[in-house]
């Protein structure tokens, strides 16, 4: 059992959990992910590690309540409670060497997992540009945390309530206009956002790394559910990734495969909402 030692509600649907796991906190590297399982009947959920602290012995996960499992976790995962399983770190760590100027783009939930990569590049001496996007100012989190590790920080909100009005692709465009010596762009967020970032950098052939989070079960290469097409080859995101060259990823296929259990997820969600309603009425 893995105890939740801190929790922060970043918005109505986004919550942060800090989980005690000293061994994992020491082993984790930027770009890696964990699989969590909240209870015996639960499902194994892959989550990119948003932060890790070897001294405190904790890993930080930022979770968006989108389906039955993550909404249920939002209710259950209070400080002092425990998760049944937290296993990792999984996947190949991000390579951080030899990059002099890097743009780290985080859209929505991608803001959290891009942070360890930003910090690693900064600590490695790179010039770091952060581009983070939210729908509006109320949903914004970790501004100060990013500012601490960014030489430039561009915040984008859809409604312009903070930073520039627009999407992270607009922020990325601004950064690319300002800097003609970008070595690498790291983009993490919804697949469509990562695809648009990759398209934005393609004309200038800027190396663009994306972190994929497809559906998986074990996270150890055993089930093959997370297979993605990269440069026309089949790869398993859990052991061959999760980082891939964004210019080579077949995003249409990824987006389609993420819809694989849509109807089941709706069914589980409806049933759970109904149960919650009955419990509240009772």
């Amino acid at each position: 059992m893995y105890e939740i030692v801190a929790r922060q509600d970043l918005s109505e649907t986004t919550y942060l959990l800090e989980v005690a796991h000293p061994q994992l906190a020491r082993a984790a590297r930027p770009g890696q992910f964990v699989i969590v399982l909240s209870h015996e009947q639960g499902e194994r959920i892959p989550l990119t590690i948003a932060d890790f602290d070897g001294e405190r012995g904790t890993v930080t996960l930022v979770i968006q309540a989108v389906g039955k499992s993550t909404k249920e976790m939002q209710q259950l995962c209070q400080v002092g409670r425990s998760l049944l399983a937290v296993v990792g770190p999984m996947g190949l760590p991000t390579a951080v060497n030899d990059v002099r100027k890097v743009v780290c783009v985080g859209g929505g939930l991608g803001v959290a997992p891009v942070f360890p990569q930003l910090r690693a590049h900064k600590n490695n001496g790179a010039y770091t540009i952060g581009v983070i996007g939210f729908r509006n100012r109320d949903l914004m989190f970790w501004k100060d945390k990013f500012a601490r590790y960014c030489d430039d920080l561009i915040i984008c909100t859809n409604d312009g309530s903070e930073g520039i009005a627009g999407l992270v692709t607009d922020g990325l465009a601004a950064a690319m206009k300002e800097h003609d010596d970008i070595d690498e762009v790291i983009a993490i967020g919804p697949p469509i956002m990562m695809k648009l970032c990759a398209e934005a950098t393609r004309p200038r052939s800027i190396k663009t790394t994306v972190s994929l989070n497809p559906i998986m079960v074990d996270g150890t290469g055993m089930c093959g559910g997370c297979r993605v097409s990269v440069g026309g080859e089949m790869k398993f995101a859990c052991v061959d990734g999760p980082d891939f060259d964004g210019h080579d990823v077949n995003f249409e296929e990824l987006i389609n495969r993420l819809r694989r259990f849509d109807s089941d997820e709706r069914e589980a969600m409806d049933r759970w909402s109904e149960q919650c309603r009955l419990m509240n009425d009772g």
């Binding site: 061994q23 994992l24 082993a27 890696q32 399982l37 009947q41 639960g42 499902e43 194994r44 039955k68 499992s69 049944l84 399983a85 937290v86 296993v87 990792g88 770190p89 999984m90 190949l92 079960v217 074990d218 996270g219 150890t220 290469g221 055993m222 089930c223 093959g224 559910g225 297979r227 097409s229 089949m234 398993f236 052991v239 061959d240 077949n250 296929e253 389609n256 495969r257 819809r259 694989r260 259990f261 109807s263 089941d264 997820e265 069914e267 589980a268 049933r271």
Partner: protein, 509 residues
């Protein structure tokens, strides 16, 4: 007792009661119900107790087969269990899943003339009886100072852990999943191997003092090198299994509805997807399921699909029934359950609908040509024979490639296919690290993995300078039961050890 001969023993192999096909396709209860005491006694009469038994050598873990069957015949059932557990901690599991027909039963002397003695069924019967009676053989264990790490809690790891724990080592077994058992748990369905049987026999392992740590991905949480250099393990055994499912590279494999048998079975067996939405893990089973491959995993995937309500389940295999790698018993069970076999058929394309879901499979018929490197006749496509059938789920059960994690995270030497390289003692290129099972050989069987685990345990004992008591078990009948140093020499329960002159994790020589 009168001497048994081939003419005096019961001529017919005692049948095992089974659930009827039309009943069992609607449940996950066991198909083969197991012998009654009468069945077991009758079948035990058929063993000739050969003076030079070939069956023992036919068993990957060298169970004293005539020994335990003779005990059954004498109605000394506990004695039979004791004989079995000298070599195998898990008779209820092995009695169910071993391919006895190509091991002990294949070389059975009775089998030369009549049907072979049903060794597997008798082994299972004793194993089940032990579980019911609560028997377990926890021997006297004299502790030694050696600490052993086992990577993977599947059959290879279990067998290795058991032998080393019995030799007195402090054994910790690591599992990446949240429940132990490896392929026994996630791979083999309940109707062939019920979870309570796995639980009961795994319990024997913890009784021997083996510590099981789940949710631990070795390689990534800590490396093999860290285990040996920093964590104080004197030796490590890797039994992670092969686990990286193969696909064919034909068009349409990324459509929704295409998955590996590993994924289907894990979702059902480990995660309870058959009980969705009571369990949170979905499967989204198709109505018309096509399974590619004809091995035991394919049979399991098809029969699980059938039980979960698939209306039509097809099996596509490019060779003929004769070449099918599945156990005959599994194949027959699948046939009885109404699986639609397409022999000499290979898929060439998976066709999708506008939403990116599978809608059909296009196949080509094959014929058998000249023998290939495996000695089997090579299937050759028949030109112009392509045809389609409707399917909304396609399951790949054509084997696995090597899992890359150990190679990615350590300097351990791999062969050109990515499997871990070992010498004939199962030692790897890292001092003190041994490996066995599918991660060395590629996909095989539970019992071969157990055999490899035991072999590695012997090598590790040699490496650490533990004087093995193996010789004690090889004593002939007249010496059996004599007491040495106050301990029954017939029991595998005592180890004399010496402390090696050099450090245990020093260089092998």
């Amino acid at each position: 007792m009168s001497v048994k001969t081939i003419r005096t023993i019961p001529q017919e192999r005692t049948p095992i009661p089974e659930q009827q096909p039309e009943v069992r396709v609607a449940n996950f209860d066991e198909v083969a119900l197991g012998y009654s005491t009468e069945d077991a006694l009758l079948e035990s009469e058929r063993c000739l107790i050969c003076p030079d038994p070939k069956c023992i050598a036919g068993c990957p873990v060298q169970i004293n087969i005539p020994g335990f069957i003779e005990r059954i015949h004498e109605k000394d059932f506990r004695g039979a269990y004791d004989v079995l557990t000298e070599s195998n901690l898990m008779p209820a599991i092995c009695g169910r899943v071993c391919p006895q027909e190509e091991q002990c039963e294949e070389v059975c002397t009775v089998g030369d003339t009549l049907e072979a003695v049903a060794v597997g069924r008798l082994e299972r019967w004793i194993g089940d009886l032990a579980i019911r009676e609560g028997w377990s053989n926890v021997p006297y264990i004299e502790r030694n100072p050696f600490k052993i790490g086992i990577v993977g809690s599947g059959p290879a790891g279990i067998a290795c852990a058991a032998d080393l724990a019995r030799a007195g080592c402090d054994v910790t077994m690591y599992e990446a999943f949240h429940r132990p058992g490896g392929v026994l748990r996630y791979g083999i369905p309940e109707f062939r191997l019920p979870n309570p049987v796995i639980d009961a026999e795994m319990e024997n392992l913890t009784r021997l003092g083996v510590k099981i740590e789940c949710n631990t991905l070795v390689g990534r949480l800590f490396t093999l090198e860290q285990m040996v250099d920093e964590m104080g393990f004197d030796a490590v055994f890797i039994g992670t299994g092969a686990g990286y499912p193969k696909f064919m590279g034909i068009p349409g494999e990324s459509l929704n509805g295409v998955l590996s048998a590993n994924e289907l079975l894990t979702r059902c067996n480990l995660m309870g997807a058959g009980d969705f939405p009571n369990a949170d893990t979905p499967l989204h089973l198709g109505k018309r399921v096509a399974v590619i491959g004809s091995g035991n995993t394919a049979m399991d995937a098809m029969r699980v699909s059938k039980r979960l309500g698939a209306e039509k389940v097809h099996c596509l295999y490019r060779r003929s029934r004769n070449e099918s790698p599945a156990r005959l018993e599994e194949l027959q069970h699948a046939e009885e359950e109404g699986i639609d076999f397409h022999w000499l058929t290979a898929p060439v394309e998976i066709l999708g609908d506008d939403d990116g879901n599978v809608r059909a499979v296009r196949n080509i018929r094959m014929e058998l040509g000249e023998p290939d490197s495996s000695g089997r006749r090579r299937p050759v496509p028949v030109e112009g024979s392509e045809y389609e059938f409707e399917a909304d789920m396609v399951v790949y059960a054509i084997g696995t490639n090597a899992n890359p994690i150990m190679g990615q995270t350590s300097k351990i030497a791999l062969n050109k296919w990515g499997y871990i390289e070992t010498d004939d003692r199962l030692a790897t290129s890292l001092a003190g690290v041994y490996a066995g099972g599918d991660i060395v050989t590629g996909g095989a069987t539970v019992i071969l993995a157990m055999g490899a685990g035991r072999k590695a345990a012997r090598s590790i004992k040699q490496y650490l300078g533990i004087v093995d008591t193996e010789s004690v078990y090889d004593l002939d009948e007249t010496e059996r039961g004599t007491r040495r140093f106050g301990i029954d020499a017939g029991q595998k329960n005592f180890v004399r050890m010496r402390f090696p002159a050099s450090q245990p994790n020093g260089p092998r020589s």
